[in-house]
């Protein structure tokens, strides 16, 4: 019998209450001072187990974690969350910190693990606190990003529900969107902390630096063709797709891509106003929000397309 993966359940956690950032009803959520990504992921998965008691945590045989603020450089944050959750000792664990593409990269690994017969239930945990790495004067970044956690269970299924994945990397763009001083290349030192002594916690996880023009140019130049490649790889045309969920990068990028890709507005799902860009959490939150509103019917074909830091792109088509 052939094995396939299917997104079984999604829960997400937004550290409330929401704060209104402008007069256009744009809300953002902010983690508390002592919370990091895995804390939000942990709250999301507790919510998932509470909402769906039929999911037994001991049946999880693989855990994938994506967060840009790891608990430790090593061991993996997946190991830490494995312990906190009391998962089975036969459960495999990996970190896949791929930024805004993190959910779909994790989904591609989950689908591959299940299809190969190496796992039956894969738990994907996502937790992001980008607002802790934004300088108070970076008003554009402040208007874009928000914090969130998400938990997704992918389980085996008799029919194919997750399509083929397309991948692309434009490594020459790595410098246009990065967390400066976030790693070993140029570690945080005393001079850095002194420089940002006026900031809450002195930007201890580094500072997000973005060249907005180059990020926009990357999205406009590469994503329309990448969408086409994803459709072709799955043997579909744009008119056969019921809904499109792109990474919620920014209001301008979403609006521009919708136009450029000729996607009808009613098929283009966005919740950027409500939660902002929550990095790896953005696609599952948009997916679950639309599902909870009853927007999807069984058999709907939904394009999921992630892109961001790296620059990286990943796309697939799921069947609801």
């Amino acid at each position: 019998m052939k094995l396939f993966g299917k997104i079984r359940k999604i829960s997400y956690y937004l550290p409330g209450p929401p704060l209104s950032i402008d007069s256009n009803s744009n809300n953002r959520y902010y983690a508390s001072q002592d919370e990091i990504g895995s804390d939000l992921a942990f709250k999301a998965v507790l919510k998932l187990f509470n909402e769906y008691p039929e999911i037994d945590k001991l049946d999880i045989d693989f855990l994938i974690v994506s967060t840009l603020v790891l608990d430790y450089n090593s061991p993996t944050t997946a190991s830490v969350l494995h312990h906190k959750l009391g998962l089975s000792s036969t459960c495999g664990t990996i970190d896949l910190p791929q930024g805004c593409s993190g959910f779909l990269y994790s989904l591609s690994v989950a689908e591959a693990m299940i299809s190969a017969g190496n796992a039956r239930n894969v738990l994907i945990l996502l937790g992001e606190v980008p607002t802790k790495a934004i300088h108070s004067e970076d008003t554009v970044l402040r208007s874009i990003f928000g914090d969130a956690g998400a938990a997704i269970v992918v389980s085996e299924n008799n029919t194919k529900a997750i399509g083929k994945f397309t991948f692309a990397t434009f490594g020459n763009g790595f410098d246009f969107l990065k967390v400066e001083r976030g790693g070993g290349r140029n570690p945080i030192d005393k001079a850095w902390l002194n420089k940002y002594s006026d900031q809450v916690n002195q930007l201890p996880f580094g500072r997000i630096e973005m060249n907005g023009l180059e990020v926009l140019r990357f999205a406009l130049k590469e994503i329309p063709g990448f969408l086409e490649q994803t459709l072709v790889k799955n043997g579909l045309t744009i008119s056969e797709i019921d809904f499109f969920i792109f990474h919620q990068a920014s209001a301008l990028i979403l609006k521009s891509l919708q136009r450029k890709c000729n996607i009808p507005e009613h098929k283009f799902i966005s919740n950027f106003e409500e939660v902002g860009n929550t990095v790896s959490c953005s696609i599952p939150i948009a997916l679950e929000t639309a599902a909870a509103l009853g927007n999807f019917k069984k058999g709907d074909k939904i394009v999921l397309l992630g892109f961001g830091i790296g620059f990286s792109c990943i796309g697939t088509v799921i069947e609801w």
Binding site: V140, G212, L213, E214, L216, R217, L220, K221, L252, I253, K255, S256, R259, K260
Partner: protein, 83 residues
Amino acid sequence: MEIDDFIKAIEEEFDNLNPGDVSPNSVFRDMEGWSSMHALIFVALIDSKYDVLLNGEELKSCVTINDLFDITCLKLNGGAAKA
């Protein structure tokens, strides 16, 4: 491609602009509330309407709406390196 269409598209794109607010000689960085985000909106608009993707240097070289129009026409007609 006519500059009147170009200006009309700009006036429609920005909520705070009304028909007649923009002329070919308008200095776009003098627009009310100008910020770096407005520059990105111009780039996105020109890309979606004319399939021309301006880069930072090209944007920096423009002062007026007419400059933006000219460089867009130039690239549209293959007169400059493609983005």
